[in-house]
């Protein structure tokens, strides 16, 4: 792992879906076993270019996610490396038993891509807004869950999965991300990244909330609070050592996620903390609610996924620390 923080956290020019497509084309060029599956959302995912390059390795099954996951599992049993995409809710909720048994229990080798995480589903509304996808998938033994924060991380993680075996769930923003890492940064699956040192409290963040966590930390620093910021991009297996170390060294933790606070980052971090190094903890995330329709910024406000709310929770956790 060799990471460098971006000089400037700006919105990237290239959309995440395009980076996904390009990287997969690159991988497929060197590995004839790589195949791509979709359930009638290839256009939405910007995968048309892949289909042009590798028509015989592109399978758009139509609107039938459960069948797609089963087919992907079958393909993997013959040595293929399937990357199967749908929107987050349909790639998880709609086909969980296929994920669990056909992929997980059968010990097969499948990559599932669930796009439009949480509030980024915006105008598609509540039915399409996954606040639960990672929480559901986390129940599969040995699964690896990744939520890349920007294009540099996405590219590196995708490439790494080529030579790994198992069930992978990649939670993917389709639009442009905010650049967090300098080009060329590399990552280790299962290891978190400390983005900023600090000694009073640690913010543990993932996905689109990493930028907000950094903003909140910057704001809190002006008030004399020293905030550490950690990016946990592997929800499972979670980086226990780093979390324990943060608990030990900063004595308070706030998790920040674009997901229900139940079953994903907040829960996973809490499990590590209470078992190893109990310290006060707060969780920023969706407080056990269904999604709704609207622009992303409105939804972030609506569900408390804001810099203000992070600051509030930090103040709360610090008051509990005393």
């Amino acid at each position: 792992m060799s990471t460098k923080l971006a000089q400037e956290r700006i919105t990237e020019a290239k959309e995440m879906r395009n980076v996904y497509c390009e990287t997969l084309i690159e991988l497929a060029a060197g590995n004839k076993n790589i195949v791509s599956l979709d359930a009638d959302l290839m256009n939405s995912m910007g995968m048309v270019k892949f289909a042009h390059h590798y028509p015989e390795r592109t399978f758009d099954v139509g609107i039938q996610e459960a069948n797609m996951i089963g087919v992907a599992a079958g393909l993997s049993a013959t040595g293929k490396i399937p990357f199967a995409h749908s929107f987050g809710p349909f790639a998880t909720r709609r086909c969980f038993d296929q994920l669990f048994l056909s992929c997980g229990y059968a010990r097969l080798n499948v990559r599932i891509i669930g796009s439009d995480p949480g509030v980024t589903a915006a105008f598609n509304g509540g039915t399409h807004m996954p606040f639960e996808d990672m929480g559901i998938v986390r129940n599969i033994p040995n699964v690896t869950i990744l939520e890349p924060v920007d294009s540099t991380q996405l590219r590196d993680l995708l490439k790494q999965t080529e030579n790994l075996y198992g069930v992978f769930y990649l939670r993917l923003l389709r639009k442009s991300a905010v650049k967090i890492y300098e080009d060329g940064s590399t990552f280790t699956i299962g290891k978190g990244v400390t983005l900023k040192e600090g000694k009073d409290v640690t913010l543990v963040a993932s996905g689109i909330m990493v930028d907000d966590a950094l903003k909140a930390a910057e704001e809190l620093e002006t008030k004399g609070i020293s905030v550490r910021v950690v990016n946990i991009f592997t929800l499972k297996p979670i980086d226990r050592n780093l979390i324990i170390q943060c608990a030990e060294e900063t004595g308070a933790i706030v998790t920040v996620e674009n997901h229900n606070i139940i079953n994903a980052l907040g829960s996973a971090v809490a499990e590590v903390v209470v078992e190893n190094m109990p310290v006060p903890m707060e969780r920023v995330g969706v407080n056990d609610l269904f999604g709704e329709v609207g622009p992303q910024n409105y939804l972030k406000q609506r569900f408390g996924l804001t810099v203000e709310n992070i600051v509030t929770k930090v103040n709360k956790v610090l008051s509990r620390k005393k």
């Binding site: 009638d40 099954v61 609107i63 509304g125 509540g126 039915t127 709704e292």
Partner: protein, 282 residues
């Protein structure tokens, strides 16, 4: 025989639905225009006479139910509901806005007159079967209407529901399949061909009809036929055009979810108003 006046009224309603749908989606600048416009004539036939409902009492026990399983056609149904007095027509412009009662996909808890929550394709089929079964159990004779997309019937759940509905002889369940030949990624035929839909339903024990889904007379007649048919659920396969009524969309291959500029919206509205004027004069 259906009276000429009824047909004219329904055609006028269909044009109004198209105009309101164009306005709501155009006002936002993007939306699921293709699949909303392809099913509009059927929605007009339903709300223009085929279906029993009461705008002042959306929960009326004796009403017929509509489950639009292709929930992204919501905007067309919202337009019909507003035009029929369930809520003010101005509210249509709140589509997808913060705090709206009109989300992109149908929601029974938000919108007056929407009977079922849909958006995850395939699920509405089972919901409609459950609703029809419930009515039957209570000895009510109201009808349950179900709208499916042609791409949507690739979902296995649809066929589980279809099989079970026949088993339970749900002859008060009337299903439309909006066979506009397209799904999101292109032509259904090229992706996962659904082929002869009517025969498939018939093989599962349903009564089948296949009609021009843009022809109001055929739609009304097919619904009447279906209502008369006993002991089997009914399917009406609608041959339709995705984006029907907005020439630009009709010609686009990818017309599932589209951007609409102000100019495009105005242009489409001009064409539709002219058509409406002609029809009113007839």
């Amino acid at each position: 025989m259906i009276s000429k006046d009824t047909v004219k009224e329904i055609k006028i309603l269909a044009l109004h639905i198209r105009m309101e749908t164009m306005k709501a989606i155009g006002n936002l600048g993007f939306g699921h225009i293709g699949g909303a416009l392809s099913i509009t004539d059927t929605i007009a036939a339903l709300y223009g006479g085929a279906m029993k409902y009461d705008p002042k009492n959306p929960q009326w026990e004796q009403r017929d139910w509509l489950v639009c399983s292709k929930g992204h056609a919501g905007p067309a149904i919202y337009s019909a509901l507003a035009l029929k007095g369930f809520f003010p027509v101005e509210e249509l412009l709140t589509l997808n806005k913060p705090g709206t009662n009109l989300p992109s996909h149908c929601d029974r808890n938000l919108t007056k007159g929407i009977d079922m929550t849909t958006g995850s394709l395939g699920q509405g089929a089972s919901l409609a079967v459950g609703v029809a079964l419930g009515h039957k159990l209570d000895g009510r004779d109201n009808f349950t209407y179900l709208i499916l997309g042609d791409g949507e019937i690739q979902e296995g759940q649809v066929w589980e529901a279809v099989l079970f509905a026949a088993q339970k002889k749900l002859d008060h369940l009337i299903t439309f399949v909006d066979y506009n030949k397209k799904q999101l990624d292109g032509y259904t035929k090229d992706i996962n061909d659904v082929g002869d839909i009517k025969s498939k339903f018939e093989a599962f024990g349903w009564h089948g009809q296949e009609i021009d889904g843009s022809n109001v007379i055929e739609i009304i007649e097919a619904i009447e036929n279906a209502k008369q048919h006993k002991d089997k659920p009914s399917v009406i396969v609608l041959h339709t055009i995705k984006g029907k009524g907005w020439a630009f969309a009709e010609q686009e291959l990818f017309n599932h979810h589209m951007n609409i500029s102000r100019d495009q919206m105005e242009e489409a509205l001009t064409v539709l108003s002219a058509e409406l004027e002609g029809l009113v004069k007839e």
